[in-house]
Symmetry: C2
Subunit: 585 residues, 2 copies
């Protein structure tokens, strides 16, 4: 037996296997996941495992390594989040999201930090040795809402798109603020004196860390898109580039102390559109599927490790400090949301309702990022107290808030996500309104979001597409792409139902029949027309015809995709043909 | 700048990126890959990079770590090979493959070892200090044909299936022999005296290592299949299990000193059938795509590392030893193939032609496995000579043989692979003949391959399928599955060409028309029939009808899938309809 030799890959594989099997186990009992969020169950499994390890070894189980978390577990989840980010609601609400993420987080950090410092002044609690700076440092790590935890809970409760993007966008973008404040306070802790210069430098760093992340991400994203222009002959390594470039963007940003999360999100959002157009359909399925798989495994591992790491002797228990931490986290977040939303609602027609505000405040879950950051703190005599408080806040938010948010959403009757995808008609209308609003904004001289969107779209089609897309001379509009996707899906459904139209004769036959029913001459001129028209125009006509026929089929009375032979309608048609044939004979 | 922090993942990602970009680079110039195999180009890139590193640092570039090779780079390639192994030709030729892999490899090891010992006795060459045991040890690592190198070259030359599986199967299965002989000789080198007992134990080990590998692989494969029974609700982690279980089988086998390659191949071949039936279509696409992607990257990295590792000061040059090694490798392999094929041909009707024999002998390429094994040798004073000889043999076989094998295949007019997939008709006939031959073998009392195949199939459908498949009550025959696959492919093609049959009316309409053209009463009795027949029989009928219609479409004169509206035939049909309608009016 030679275990040493294979230990590292063997143990990693076993951990992943355990996580996947745990996931399968929960889903075998359908009732469990509908009551308790998966994240709670996974932490629970972790707690049990940690207890077993603790009981057997009689020492604290290994704590989740912060390096492993930030370098290997977090990137897949954030990449998945960025790649599947619904870009329309995100950019429509970018102002509100940034306000919550930047101002809201700063508000929370200082609010929690100062009020905990106030608690520390109470002599009965015996906490006078915790300085203001340490409290602010603790505030900076405990204030940030965690994207992994938010995603795990909000994916299951299906609130409306705007509410979802507000909470989730905030949890992603506050990373830049958290990184800056955490590092600032940590360096202040180690400095003998703090100059006012340092504080100003800290403020400047916000912009460097955030915008730097965006720049790094976008440059890697566009490079990825450019690379996939040349992969036509080796389709099989196309998905690789999506993963490699996004990971590189994350690592590069981390290397330069920029926000890795912001970088990987901009990379994913920047490349998505071009990569999708360049790579093959199968490659794209693989990219999507693998991203989901990877993030799902990372997510599972994070929650299990979180559970395992909780057990042990790393904690110093102090009732008042811990209780007040939980209370202040709740109060300051609620206050922040109320105040910020008051200002947001003054400038928007489409306001955030008080129900939505409650869910935003209540959905501020903390998770593994806080946990990793608290272990990264420099050693000082109250570190174990901070670890204990962080653990309690995470468990409280994930268990109590995570488990009650679904009943609350039901109780408050918060507007849910619409179930169906937008139809082709809706898409056309949205597109039309966008153009209209851009025109209105242009005339009125107001540089609003539609104006910028139009300019960006122009820049995109004029320059970016020509550089980044393989077939830049024929960029298909999103509607044509949607139509193709629907057609493909429909074709697969037909094939699976064994009802595929046989032979290529039918569409053209239908099409010709359609034309000739209006006038006989059309068929005859049709041939001539094709001889004179150039192929581009013809392709366009075919597309329009196909699209119209598709819609007729969808809306007309003949819409019965899944009828089996012998159902009423088809036999009627058959009879009609029969009569025709008889008369002919 | 904090490079230390992200160094490990950053450098790994960069290496993979470099490998992928090199691959893209080759394919940009279409002429290059058609003349020079990709493996040669990659080694060449590696040589250049090694030269640059050597020139800049003035010391040998890092050698490919054997642990990294065996634990991380080799498994994906072997998994891919095993998963996509064409099982029918493999099992039809398993006897011949095993003969080549076991007897042939032993023949080569001892042949090369003893003849090199003979060369060492020539005083002029100054090699008398190389003992017989060391020569045999060297023979054991240089004799084995390398699956990675064989695959890289043979995938590009498209020889017939039987020839391909003979060379490729041998290269995979000789791993068990190589492992045993290499470890045996290495332990002999370290022992003071060798007893006859040890030799017998070595012979016994063959079976343990090979059959143990098969057992480990199959047990993990069946566990994987069993696990995928329960993934219906979380489709997204299905592909993971395929990778995790196969990797675990490899690691477990390596842990117990069994043959990891044999284990992972049996695991992949064992699970493939059941996993494919259990997991969703998209999961399966992801599995296939990712496997190909992964193996392709591993393959690229191996050849680049091989090139990099060649440069440096690890070599001791001795002209006679190195030249005779190359010559003996060629001679003993050629002799071995000739002698073994002589015996094989006496027992087979479908003999191996002399052209095939030449390609089998000539296709015995050496690669990264030899290279890793020679670096794993215990230190002794002639190790650098062995490294030099191994490097020369690898470069000779990959460059000279790899580049000339394609012209030779053309020159000899070796039978090529058939381009088209077997039709449904062919499949039915093959299946029919299998049953017939199984019957004949049963009557004649001969326990041949068809008899065993039939028994295995019976065992599979009676027990295995019930345990391992989710819907074990409706196991679809491979023909129905093939048909569904063809239909799906066809549907996607139609959708992509914008020619999807519109509405569900057509198949049933065609079907009814088909029936009613023979007699009018059929349509009327059709309805009644459906009322009386039970749904199972109806489903079956529909399947048969759909299958027949499909074949008519494929073989009939109307077979023009990609005709656009306006082509000759469809307009003719449209005219026909027009005439009918006119008469009707």
């Amino acid at each position: 037996l030679d275990y040493q030799h294979v230990q590292v890959p063997f143990e990693i594989t076993l951990w992943i296997m355990l996580a996947s099997l745990a996931k399968i186990g929960f889903h075998l009992y359908n009732k469990l996941p509908s009551v308790v969020p998966e994240s709670c169950l996974l932490i629970f499994v972790g707690l049990i495992m940690g207890g077993i390890i603790y009981g057997l070894n009689d020492r604290s189980p290994p704590v989740m390594d912060s390096d492993i978390f930030f370098l290997y577990l977090l990137p897949p989840i954030v990449l998945d989040a960025g790649y599947f980010m619904p870009s329309r609601p995100f950019f429509e609400n970018i102002g509100t999201i940034l306000l919550y993420a930047v101002v809201g987080t700063i508000w929370n950090v200082f609010g929690i930090g100062f009020s905990l410092y106030g608690i520390c002044q109470v002599k009965a609690f015996r906490l006078q040795d915790v300085s203001l700076l340490h409290n602010l440092l603790f505030g900076s790590l405990i204030a940030a809402v965690d994207p992994v935890a938010v995603l795990a809970v909000f994916e299951e409760i299906h609130v409306n798109e705007k509410l979802h993007i507000l909470v989730f966008g905030e949890s992603l973008l506050n990373d830049a603020v958290t990184v800056v404040l955490y590092k600032l306070f940590r360096s202040f802790c180690e400095m003998p004196t703090i100059k006012s210069m340092d504080v100003f430098a800290g403020v400047g760093k916000f912009f460097v860390v955030g915008l730097g992340g965006v720049l790094v991400g976008l440059s890697f994203g566009f490079t990825a898109a450019f690379t996939t222009r040349f992969t036509k002959d080796i389709r099989v390594i196309e998905p690789l580039f999506v993963f490699l470039y996004s990971y590189l963007s994350y690592l590069t940003a981390e290397m330069f102390h920029l926000s890795g999360i912001v970088a990987i999100i901009s990379c994913a959002m920047g490349m998505k559109r071009y990569v999708e157009a360049n790579i093959s359909l199968k490659s794209h399925t693989t990219v999507k599927y693998f991203m989901k798989m990877w993030s799902s495994v990372s997510d599972t591992l994070i929650f299990i490790f979180l559970g395992v790491s909780t057990i042990g002797e790393n904690h110093e228990w102090n009732w008042p400090y811990i209780c007040f931490t939980v209370i202040f986290c709740l109060i300051w977040r609620a206050l922040g949301v109320l105040v910020l939303t008051f200002f947001v609602n003054r400038f928007h027609v489409n306001t955030i309702t008080s129900k939505d505000q409650f869910i935003i405040a209540y959905g501020g879950l903390r998770g593994a990022i806080c946990f990793s950051l608290v272990f990264l703190l420099p050693d000082f005599h109250r570190k174990k107290l901070f670890i204990a408080a962080t653990t309690v806040v995470i468990l409280f938010t994930v268990f109590i808030q995570g488990m009650t948010i679904r009943p609350l959403v039901d109780l408050l009757a918060v507007k849910r996500k619409r179930e169906s995808a937008p139809t082709v008609g809706e898409q056309i209308h949205i597109r039309f309104l966008d153009h209209l609003l851009a025109g209105i904004e242009d005339i009125s001289g107001h540089w609003g979001q539609y104006y910028w969107k139009d300019k960006l779209e122009y820049f995109n089609s004029k320059y970016l597409q020509k550089i980044l897309l393989r077939e830049y001379d024929q960029p298909k509009s999103s509607i044509v792409l949607l139509y193709e996707k629907l057609e493909r899906k429909h074709a697969i459904e037909l094939a699976q139902a064994g009802q595929l139209g046989h032979g290529p004769a039918h569409p053209s036959f239908l099409c010709s029949a359609f034309l000739c029913s209006s006038s006989d001459r059309t068929v005859r001129t049709d041939q001539k027309l094709e001889d004179t028209l150039n192929p581009d125009v013809l392709d366009n006509m075919q597309e329009i015809l196909a699209r119209n026929l598709y819609r007729i089929r969808r809306t007309g009375p003949a819409y019965n995709r899944h009828t089996l032979p012998g159902d009423s309608e088809p036999t009627e048609q058959a009879k009609e043909i029969l009569i025709l044939r008889h008369k002919n004979l």
